[in-house]
Amino acid sequence: MPHENVYVYQSPTFLRLALGLVYFHFGVLKFYPDLSPAELIATQTVMNVSFHYLDAQTAQFALAILETVIGLGLILNVFPRITFILFLMHMIGTFLPLVLLPELTFKIAPLAPNIEGQYIFKNIVFVAAGWTVLLPQVFPQRLRDSASKASPNS
């Protein structure tokens, strides 16, 4: 049953738009070399993951496409399953520097991150937000089923 207060009712939409806007904005920045502050860690991670098959420029371009597509998916609320899969892939990738580049993300591992490490750690909020806004669309039937089981008279 939707909440009667429209602001409460629409809050997942606000969250989805906010998340999408951040993805889109930071994704577009990565199309422009030297403009994104996350360039160093992001490109090094993608290069490491690709065993240096991708050079820095290609790695950044690939990441720019990924983030922009996720952003568009979230903002326009289209292709939720694909967006969710890309979102999960991206989220796993964002946490990888903590493992692959601990020297650049921690003052002292594992509990004292530096500023870049904090930037990554806070992505846990993104995970929760993405989960909240995308999961109901990815599994709508199952949620409806479980809702009807919980209150059969409604």
Binding site: F24, V28, Y32, E103
Partner: protein
């Protein structure tokens, strides 16, 4: 229709907002380019727009301060050069750095590591094995290090001289077939086999010593990178040392490496007190950017530093390489091998790229070998005083070339001592091969810098002028060219045959090598 518009209006508004955002970022980027914060130079379009038009009423003086480019084979946009990757100290850099361009974040260095020293050690212990495996794969992809020597030829202290050419060719069967192509064709098909060599870890850069040296001096073994050339293709260690003031003694080092511990015993009674003092200074280690007592280092233990003779061992070279200190960012610096100090008394110009005009000046200007005097405050003083550098110059000026018994006083072959092939080589040297246009006189050098314009042969950021190297005693100083991209004399001849479009035959090239071995 109205229902469709109503249904999709919210999405249309969102798309409009995103388009505005994207356009805003694009405008921001355009403003950002060329500012002090950006690593991107101004685009050519912007530069040309800034150029005053001939029909405008702008004064002549104002025209002279325009941003006119001196055009290489093609501007960097047309060649699709890539912007240098964003990296920090210690991170891997591309081996094909000639394809890149861009500004540094700052000209000024910092003695601060991007991580704690323990992390620095850990980072390199993880990175180095993979890096070196890739470095060796890259080098073996470019060169065939077969270890085949030229029979009966040796360096001054007896090390065999390697046969070439060992540069590998792509898509053509022979160097003769390659040389028949026009430069533009070689460039278009990406066939040039002598592209520059980069420092394997250009982000840290600095001196990399050969294995033969680090075996004897483990204190110079780096945690981040090793030499990429096999020892067989490098000069002998320890090399001979000849003094112009005591030719009768021949090799005064006698197979020993001259050190602070033995120099007095070897040279007392042979040198002047000033020369002794200069030699001692050449042997005394002093802190460098990455070899010092601070955490800003590439050695496990704190380092005493590096002495002049650690690279110029016995006044010659062990082929340790560094980067030319004359440019920023680090990734734009050209790799430069250690030149020999032999015969410096005959040179008017020193250093591959910097056109240094005297031996004393050379001793004075080596600011940690990286062109950054600001590091002195943090890493420790070097700052050699003028009277000391003069004494270093005093010893430097008596280091002689190795004997060349087949040359007469005018540096021509003595026919009775030379073979037919060597004589043919000499004729080519002064004739068809045009070597003598730059390599003449007692040291076979013109003391000029020349721009060989190798960008005619491959897509790259142009390298600019490089000093002519003396050819006297050249057989003792592989690998060749400022960055060692020509591992053997045969490769060097092939390089110049291509670059100067000489159209030498295979036999003529062999003759030329035979002659070079006599110098």
């Amino acid at each position: 229709m109205w229902s469709f518009v109503k249904k999709h209006s919210s999405k249309a508004i969102l798309v409009f907002v995103l388009l505005v955002l994207t356009f805003g970022i694009h405008l921001t980027y355009d403003k950002y380019r060329g500012t002090g914060l950006s690593r991107l130079p101004l685009s050519s379009a912007r530069l040309e727009a800034a150029e005053p038009q001939p029909d405008s009423d702008t004064s002549v003086a104002a025209k002279n301060v325009s941003y006119r480019r001196t055009t290489p084979a093609a501007p960097f946009e047309e060649d699709n050069l890539q912007l240098y990757p964003t990296i920090t100290k210690g991170m891997r850099t591309p081996f094909d750095l000639w394809k890149y361009y861009g500004r540094g974040v700052s000209s000024f260095g910092s003695p601060i590591l991007p991580m704690r020293f323990e992390q620095w050690l850990d980072f390199h212990s993880k990175q180095k094995p993979g890096l070196m495996a890739d470095v060796h794969a890259y080098m073996h992809d470019r060169f065939d290090f077969s270890g085949e020597a030229i029979p009966g030829t040796f360096m001054s202290a007896g090390k065999p001289i390697m046969r070439g050419p060992i540069a590998r060719l792509a898509s053509v069967k022979s160097f003769e077939e390659l040389a028949a192509l026009k430069p533009s064709e070689i460039r278009k098909r990406d066939l040039f086999p002598y592209k520059p060599l980069a420092h394997p870890l250009q982000s840290n850069a600095h001196m990399v010593f050969p294995q033969m040296w680090t075996k004897a001096h483990p204190e110079h073994e780096r945690i981040d990178v090793d030499m990429d050339f096999p020892d067989t293709y490098l000069p002998e260690f320890p090399p001979a040392l000849f003094l112009s003031t005591h030719k009768e003694l021949g090799d005064v080092a006698g197979g020993r490496e001259i050190t602070l511990d033995n120099y007095y015993e070897i040279f007392d009674g042979l040198l002047t007190p000033e020369q002794m003092e200069g030699l001692k200074e050449l042997l005394r280690p002093s802190p460098t950017t990455w070899f010092n007592h601070t955490d800003h280092r590439v050695t496990k233990s704190p380092s005493k530093g590096v002495a002049c003779f650690d690279c110029h061992v016995n006044g010659h070279t062990n082929a340790a390489f560094e980067l030319g200190p004359d440019s920023r960012p680090n990734m734009s610096r050209l790799r430069t091998d250690t030149p020999t100090m032999r015969g410096n008394y005959n040179l008017m110009q020193f250093s591959s790229k910097r056109s240094i005009r005297s031996m004393d000046h050379f001793s004075e200007v080596e600011e940690y070998f990286d062109g950054d005097p600001g590091m002195q405050q943090a890493i420790g003083p070097r700052a050699v005083k003028r009277e000391v550098t003069n004494r270093m110059g005093d010893f430097n000026s008596i280091i002689d070339y190795p004997p060349a018994p087949k040359l007469n006083p005018l540096m021509r072959l003595i026919p009775d001592l030379a073979t037919e092939q060597e004589l043919r080589g000499e004729e080519l040297f002064h004739g068809k091969a045009q070597c003598a246009k730059c390599h003449y006189g007692p040291a076979f050098v013109d003391d000029y810098m020349h721009d060989l314009q190798v960008e005619r042969f491959y897509v790259c950021r142009p390298e600019g002028p490089i000093k002519t190297f003396p050819l006297r005693g050249i057989k003792d100083s592989p690998p060749y060219l400022h960055d060692g991209r020509c591992p053997t004399l045969h490769d060097t001849v092939e390089f110049f045959n291509l670059v100067l479009e000489l159209k030498l035959t295979k036999g003529e090239k062999d003759d030329l090598v035979a002659y070079l071995l006599c110098l």
